[in-house]
Subunit: 154 residues, 10 copies
Amino acid sequence: MSVQAKLSPLSKRLFEAKRQKKLSFEQIGSKMGRDEVWVAALFYGQAKPTPEDGEKLSSILNIPQAHINDDLGPEFFPDRGGLMSIPPTDPTLYRFYEMIQVYGYPMKAIIHEKFGDGIMSAIDYTVKIDKEEDPNGDRVKITMSGKFLPYKKF
Amino acid sequence: MSVQAKLSPLSKRLFEAKRQKKLSFEQIGSKMGRDEVWVAALFYGQAKPTPEDGEKLSSILNIPQAHINDDLGPEFFPDRGGLMSIPPTDPTLYRFYEMIQVYGYPMKAIIHEKFGDGIMSAIDYTVKIDKEEDPNGDRVKITMSGKFLPYKKF
Amino acid sequence: MSVQAKLSPLSKRLFEAKRQKKLSFEQIGSKMGRDEVWVAALFYGQAKPTPEDGEKLSSILNIPQAHINDDLGPEFFPDRGGLMSIPPTDPTLYRFYEMIQVYGYPMKAIIHEKFGDGIMSAIDYTVKIDKEEDPNGDRVKITMSGKFLPYKKF
Amino acid sequence: MSVQAKLSPLSKRLFEAKRQKKLSFEQIGSKMGRDEVWVAALFYGQAKPTPEDGEKLSSILNIPQAHINDDLGPEFFPDRGGLMSIPPTDPTLYRFYEMIQVYGYPMKAIIHEKFGDGIMSAIDYTVKIDKEEDPNGDRVKITMSGKFLPYKKF
Amino acid sequence: MSVQAKLSPLSKRLFEAKRQKKLSFEQIGSKMGRDEVWVAALFYGQAKPTPEDGEKLSSILNIPQAHINDDLGPEFFPDRGGLMSIPPTDPTLYRFYEMIQVYGYPMKAIIHEKFGDGIMSAIDYTVKIDKEEDPNGDRVKITMSGKFLPYKKF
Amino acid sequence: MSVQAKLSPLSKRLFEAKRQKKLSFEQIGSKMGRDEVWVAALFYGQAKPTPEDGEKLSSILNIPQAHINDDLGPEFFPDRGGLMSIPPTDPTLYRFYEMIQVYGYPMKAIIHEKFGDGIMSAIDYTVKIDKEEDPNGDRVKITMSGKFLPYKKF
Amino acid sequence: MSVQAKLSPLSKRLFEAKRQKKLSFEQIGSKMGRDEVWVAALFYGQAKPTPEDGEKLSSILNIPQAHINDDLGPEFFPDRGGLMSIPPTDPTLYRFYEMIQVYGYPMKAIIHEKFGDGIMSAIDYTVKIDKEEDPNGDRVKITMSGKFLPYKKF
Amino acid sequence: MSVQAKLSPLSKRLFEAKRQKKLSFEQIGSKMGRDEVWVAALFYGQAKPTPEDGEKLSSILNIPQAHINDDLGPEFFPDRGGLMSIPPTDPTLYRFYEMIQVYGYPMKAIIHEKFGDGIMSAIDYTVKIDKEEDPNGDRVKITMSGKFLPYKKF
Amino acid sequence: MSVQAKLSPLSKRLFEAKRQKKLSFEQIGSKMGRDEVWVAALFYGQAKPTPEDGEKLSSILNIPQAHINDDLGPEFFPDRGGLMSIPPTDPTLYRFYEMIQVYGYPMKAIIHEKFGDGIMSAIDYTVKIDKEEDPNGDRVKITMSGKFLPYKKF
Amino acid sequence: MSVQAKLSPLSKRLFEAKRQKKLSFEQIGSKMGRDEVWVAALFYGQAKPTPEDGEKLSSILNIPQAHINDDLGPEFFPDRGGLMSIPPTDPTLYRFYEMIQVYGYPMKAIIHEKFGDGIMSAIDYTVKIDKEEDPNGDRVKITMSGKFLPYKKF
């Protein structure tokens, strides 16, 4: 099933409005005071907006706030993580996945050395994407930050 | 099958020597002039050393260079990516995986907006892990850099 | 593969010593000042002991501390979650799994109502098992406590 | 497939009525004399109501009883357990699952020590969720109770 | 992996002793006062014997009781259900499986009509196999009996 | 996908007529001279009726015979076994499945002892469900009968 | 796992003896009065010999009959169907599988037209392989014969 | 998903026309000068007709040739092999599959002995189904013929 | 799910227009100045056209450019790789897959010998298909060219 | 399981001899009069040598011919295709696989246009790898040639 077919009707409407207004996620993000990756996550149904986020979205995309409230309001809770097939077939997504297949255990080992027995949170977490210009070919820079959570002993 | 059971005899020997010498990957990395994550990848059989890397490893860990050459020499090529079950069961590894399940499509969308149709290379790629001290709990910072590769049209 | 075949040599030795000394996890736990479930997790390689835990284990089970240190010492980090097949075939384990298949979404909905958008941590987490005597048949009582982690917006 | 797409038409109607009346599961539960988790299970099609439950639901949500009877009446039997993908991709659900992957065998071992060879019933079973306020961050408390069922020898 | 490779050393020893003494499960069962299917389950590591069962097994098969106690004694708890691949490849096993694929929902529907919302226990359960002689070809008769467990409402 | 979504339009119509006429499978079965399990199998599209079965069904449920003939007539052949996910997620179905996971090899061993190398047919096969009243809780009794088919040597 | 690794020790011995004696399956089959495919099935552990088959095998391959009896004697029952991965990766095996993927439903339809609702037995079944010489390239001819089993109505 | 749901609109129309005209595949095949199995394959979308086949089909089933040309014309190429789940759940299909699971390696071994290293083609391939009357129960006879293709060395 | 069902509405329209205009991919490709394989990839939603490609497509197939722009315009990014089941069931596709199963490691070994540790890019990549006439049967010639990317050490 | 663990003892010996003699596949191939890819396939157990190939291999690698004959002689037939996990985790192998996921249907469409309904043989097949020097980065060139096999109608 294509990712489009998995989107909720409101998500489809958000994407359609964005296309018609020719707005980038960066532009929407800067109007909302949010990072562009988080805004994209919102469009894909992977994040929950605050009421203020909802109001801004409504005015930026010209979608009645009641519609946004119906689908992204207080009762809404994202059912996350179901967009991607496992493993992902799309090459751009697969590369993210491959980075973890190849460097996952090494990263776990380094986190253990620096922090001890625990995990890097995927909830108290942010991710940012930057473009690094480079004469040998521009580079994608991803910066992730997650709280370290030590395993509780009991 | 445990990750230990999947390691080559030389990998096991590297880990054992590291443990006995009480060396961290950071210490080994700084002696080798390599990043600690890459050194850990080498230990896990996920990277191929240059002859100079092999010599340094031999002298740091006190393992005869011939042994390193036999298993990590010119004929050796890593068979990468097979350490982890899919999806990973270990929580530290799973969180990396979850980050991609939740933020994968949003990241792909932002890369498309900033760079166009293509991928972030997982080959011409580096990854670095830092500790950010924080009064609310220290944070793990991961910085990835990969060359953008545009899809060729033909 | 049977769960025994997946245990590390030290885990097997811990189980063997426990059997020969006819000690229950409850008895070992009360000597160590730890809950019995956590102690069982330690035996199954799913938890990392502090050095003090290691010393106590050594004296309770009469296993040289150096051996415990080699396998459960500072360099050790558990590779968690790999004991069970998915879904579990053993009926006792399967029932835990079924509880989540049937009541998972309802529980997620209630957590959302009481706490908002986020998760119950499986890391800052404890679990306890009690026996409730009942004339209609004794009951197993499981009490889990996990920190609520709200999703970060960025 | 999203969880919404898996719900029956009546389930969707129940959720819609709840949203419009701005009722929480706790409020519906206290009107029905049922626990909120069980009520949520009913909404998700994972439980079967008694005729009295049906009447109360009808009056609380203002849905004609005949409609409820058609879909949740005597002929109805839940086809349970199909809401979730395996393993779950949603992080809130995944954490429940991870708790079992990590602590499943330890819990089985403790049940065996306290009760003998058997299982904790997932049928003669209740589950309750409470909020524990905590200055270090509120905690989710889950209390499960299931009848112990010893394996029959024959 | 063959089923033999999955058996514990004691299971292999039980089968070997049975073969050398040319005893059928029926003969062992009648000496033990147990049904032949349950005895076979014991040999395959799918059941736990009482101490008396262990004594009888020891004397019938001429295996020192201490050996039986080590592996099937009070500390032992079966890790059930892992013998078979899913779905089973062996035709005899597959037919059992196919009976459920074809008649599973019909059986569930009839149980619901006769008993209400609940399950047939696989724990408080017995199964017996008889040979029915028939001029058109002998027939296998399987008789299963399991306690009905109604779903608890809470 | 829910089991309802997998039913053919005629199956849905049969279930609807049964519900409106408040007939049990037992009542339909006794009018048709068929066992209730087989009738349920027919409703689920897992069996093929004779023309006489079709006539009776038509008159019992008041569905024009031409409609039944179109979908269950001479050209119809059931595409069996596709209703259930593998393994089944519904607890009632799962228990049937678990009985085979736990007792499958023991049952195969007993069949071999009583009959020789072969299978119990799932085609020349009947299954019956009875209610056994019991003061300790009523019991479900399943009686299966299948022709023994010896493996041909050639 | 390679097919060799899945063979029993006796199977390996049979193959080794066959290789040393430079006997084809056709030669062994004609000495035993069995078809070559069935003999190959016996070597792969997929068939059970009669005592007379065992005696002949012993004398043809010069293996003590007691050894054959230990592993292929009255207590032995084949655990069939586990040699092949699903789907098979080997091209020769895969083609057999593909024939069924492409022509399976058509074959089922023709069997239904010629015989009615039922199956072609894989137990009361023989298979023969012949070489058809052809100037455009020799052809493999497979002839299968299986008893038709009509579905029982009950 | 049922096999019907996987058929193209034209396939459904072909089946409907065949049902209304009460034609068997054998009758259609003899009018077309094709084998009945191949005709059934055509109906299931597993074969491509020549223009002459299309004309005959059009006149036999009274479907305008333009319609047949649109869907089965020169641009059409079958997307084969997707009708069946893997492994098949339907017992008639499963038996074909089981024949290969049990006799696959033996058949490969015999082909190697008779022809050398190569495969039996599933493309330059025919399959025929006959009814063999037999007082002990009629038998299904399947005759397959495929060109032997030796592996090229290069 | 058939590949047709996975295509976007615009893809379906492109295929329909191509069929009505009786154009081959080669003809469309030569009008666009693109290789026929790339054009087919575009039709299947596996490639992104430049604005000039879009204009040409619009005029060749007589589809308003606005429609092409809506679906293949600057906002569009292909979600690649999801057309095929894994492994592919269609024999033509499966053969490509089998070539890699059989010759994958050998090819990796040769690339390592000729280039060192790295990959052949699937992004900076072209593929061409030619017909080689041959009296023994025409041959398909596939020529692939991909940039070698050496693994970065860091 | 690593690819090394899947190799036969003779394969391991061939690789070891090659390493000690510091021979490339190209050098071995040119001594044998075979392409280097085919020679690598032979080393990985994916091809069968002629007796002359065996003699040459024996003399080039200094391995007694009897040893080669035992494992690669007339009785040997490769069990192909089992080296790789599906999908492959190694990035070099994965890229081959991705090329087919992305360009598979387009390639099938072009083959249909140029040749008609059929396949490109993976048996009557050759593959060659060349290095194309390029100032923008060297390129890997893969040339595959396979006989076109038209689908037989019958």
